[in-house]
């Protein structure tokens, strides 16, 4: 045996011994990039890693991009746990890309709110609650608005950013206005007059990079957004961004946590899901980023809870939208938006 042959065999032997140990102690989490990754890593991932596990955070882009990754890796998954939007997770569940939940392995499920447990159906439960809000420029809009119809005020011509369907924010606003004006979130006809009057002021139906940044860059005065990010932008901008849960109510956006089917590091994945849903992790993340906690024993401070839709004064304002039903309606809604709302708001 030459020196080279010996070296190669030695390395191979080391790798054979080391690989299973490494695999047992590491796992890969796929979720959103940016401020979600930063804050989730600090408050949830690092405490888990401190117990001796190595967690790779894979930035999956949007939920639909994550679904694409899961589809592409179906034969050889490189991800163990995925946190994504509930509607997209439902597709992953239906396609067998994520595991059905096994209650015996997840004792933490007993601590979850009923809505959190039921959100994911037969697959993973909710891990964060978020909700749609209206955001505005506190320096230019006074007094503070309370209704979505503040965006229809003629003085706001060209100063509104309103994401249109199929973007989920456009669907949520439509459901909110339909519920407020017709008593049924599915009745788009009741929402259209209000949408048209707001559309007259819309500068863009596709705010880029997002409504918060466009307000901070003086391009808009109003936009829609998700509460958690909006609250963080409010703090970072020293209250320049105002956040309103409108009189018309709000709609939950739920992220669920799932173990990927045939995950290579399933043992660690199960441990991580138990940790992510635990009271401590939920409390830490809510107090950092204002996502509503799913664990009823989280013990979140009243101040942080007051900035989520789970605050007692807001709970009655949450409209019970069935996103599975929305999936069936959105094609028709999209067409009506294009033909009756966007076309009525030329620039």
């Amino acid at each position: 045996m030459t020196i080279w042959q010996g070296a190669v065999l030695g390395i191979a032997a080391l790798a054979a011994v080391a690989a299973p140990a490494s695999a047992q102690n590491s796992m890969t989490l796929m979720s959103y990039a940016g401020i979600f990754r930063e804050n989730y890593t600090d408050t949830v991932v690092k405490p888990f890693a401190a117990k001796g596990a190595e967690v790779q955070f894979f930035e999956g882009g949007s939920s639909s991009q994550m679904l694409g990754t899961l589809r592409a890796q179906k034969a050889d998954p490189q991800v163990d746990v995925v946190i994504m939007d509930v509607t997209t997770a439902a597709l992953a569940c239906a396609e067998g890309l994520v595991e059905p939940v096994r209650p015996a392995e997840l004792p933490v499920l007993a601590q979850l709110a009923p809505m959190a447990r039921s959100a994911g159906g037969s697959c993973g439960p909710a891990v964060t609650f978020d909700h749609l809000v209206m955001v505005y420029d506190t320096q230019k809009v006074q007094p503070a608005p309370a209704s979505l119809m503040a965006m229809a005020d003629p003085s706001q011509r060209g100063a509104v950013g309103l994401a249109a369907p199929p973007n989920i924010q456009g669907l949520a606003v439509t459901a909110m206005l339909a519920n407020a004006n017709g008593g049924d979130w599915k009745n788009i006809g009741a929402a259209l007059p209000a949408l048209k009057s707001i559309a007259a002021n819309v500068q863009t139906f596709d705010p880029k990079p997002d409504g918060y940044s466009m307000i901070l860059n003086d391009q808009l005065r109003f936009a829609t957004g998700w509460n958690a990010r909006a609250q963080l932008y409010r703090d970072q901008s020293k209250n320049r961004i105002g956040v309103v849960l409108p009189d018309e109510g709000t709609v939950f956006q739920i992220n669920t946590i799932n173990i990927v089917a045939n995950a290579k590091n399933r043992g660690k994945a199960v441990e991580f899901v138990n940790h992510a849903l635990s009271a401590a992790a939920q409390k830490a993340f809510t107090e950092r980023m204002f996502y509503g906690p799913v664990n009823t024993e989280a013990g979140v401070t009243p101040e942080a809870l007051g900035r989520t839709a789970l605050a007692p004064e807001y709970r009655s304002k949450v409209i019970d939208v069935d996103w599975g039903e929305m999936q069936k309606l959105r094609d028709g809604w999209n067409q009506r938006w294009r033909r009756e709302v966007i076309s009525a708001a030329p620039r």
């Binding site: 639909s64 509607t87 597709l91 060209g158 199929p166 139906f205 391009q219 959105r330 094609d331 620039r347």
Partner: protein
């Protein structure tokens, strides 16, 4: 035979990097999207039938053709003086001028569009000048609409038109224009009666190339359209990433690809014609 052997590596790369993914895309287009939105393995043309039976697809195709056709035409017309100037320049300056003509290609398309947004936006340079000088009370809407997309697209297509025209006009025999001048034709008459007819095949080739690029353009309509501009590429994006309807997105992409292949064949025919005439 030697030619094929030399081309073999490039053809292999093409097969792996283009044909194989295209075959995969075609296969996905034959899958089924269930009512819940989940993708189901199948061999069906449902997605094609749905797209072809939807009047919005025809509207999209018309929007796309109109946007790309008009932008390509304007880009070609604007590129012609640039190409003529390069042709008329002394050999010493020709290279530098040609480089300047295609300089926008050296900058990322996204960066250029962000620049346009700063110029054309409601608080942008042009509106600041218009409102500062008292010519307007409210911003002129130059972005987040079809106007903004056309401006951005013309700018991004022009360098390609310049390249094709420089190559096409370079083949024209200057003695024909000299002969026209000798026979008493003025500059304008020489241009209209001699240069322009001879340049027609190059102009057509430039228009077709930029048309093909315009048909598949995505970033410009997405970033400068403000959600008001619906073309094939933005619809493919929405189907794939908002609806998560991969079979639908793949089917629309295949239809667009088919149209582009037809146009490329047309371009090849006209380019050959241009070569023969020159």
């Amino acid at each position: 035979m030697t030619g094929w052997l030399l081309a073999a590596p490039a053809l292999a790369v093409l097969a792996v990097a283009f044909l194989w993914p295209m075959a995969g895309l075609f296969r996905i287009s034959l899958n089924r999207t269930t009512e819940t939105g989940a993708m189901e393995a199948a061999l069906t043309t449902e997605s094609y039938a749905k797209l072809l039976g939807d009047s919005f697809t025809a509207e999209l195709a018309w929007n796309t053709l109109l946007l790309a056709g008009s932008s390509a035409a304007v880009a070609t017309v604007l590129a012609l003086p640039v190409a003529l100037m390069v042709r008329a320049a002394s050999p010493r300056w020709r290279g530098l001028l040609a480089l300047l003509g295609i300089a926008p290609l050296l900058v990322s398309a996204t960066a250029r569009l962000v620049g346009w947004m700063a110029i054309l936006g409601d608080q942008g340079l042009i509106n600041a000048m218009l409102m500062g000088s008292g010519l307007r009370d409210t911003p002129l809407p130059l972005i987040n609409n079809w106007t903004g997309v056309r401006i951005g697209l013309v700018e991004s297509l022009m360098p390609y038109a310049v390249l094709v025209l420089i190559a096409g006009l370079g083949r024209l025999d200057p003695r024909l224009e000299e002969a026209a001048a000798t026979l008493g034709a003025g500059r304008a008459r020489t241009f209209l009666r001699v240069t322009l007819p001879l340049a027609a095949p190059a102009l057509l080739a430039a228009w077709l190339l930029t048309l093909v690029l315009g048909l598949s353009s995505f970033i410009t309509p997405r970033l400068m359209g403000g959600g008001r501009v619906f073309v094939m590429a933005t619809e493919i994006y929405d189907l794939a990433l908002e609806y998560v309807d991969w079979p639908g997105a793949a089917a629309l992409a295949m239809l667009l690809l088919g149209a582009l292949v037809l146009l490329m064949l047309l371009r090849a025919v006209t380019t050959r014609g241009a070569g023969r005439r020159a």
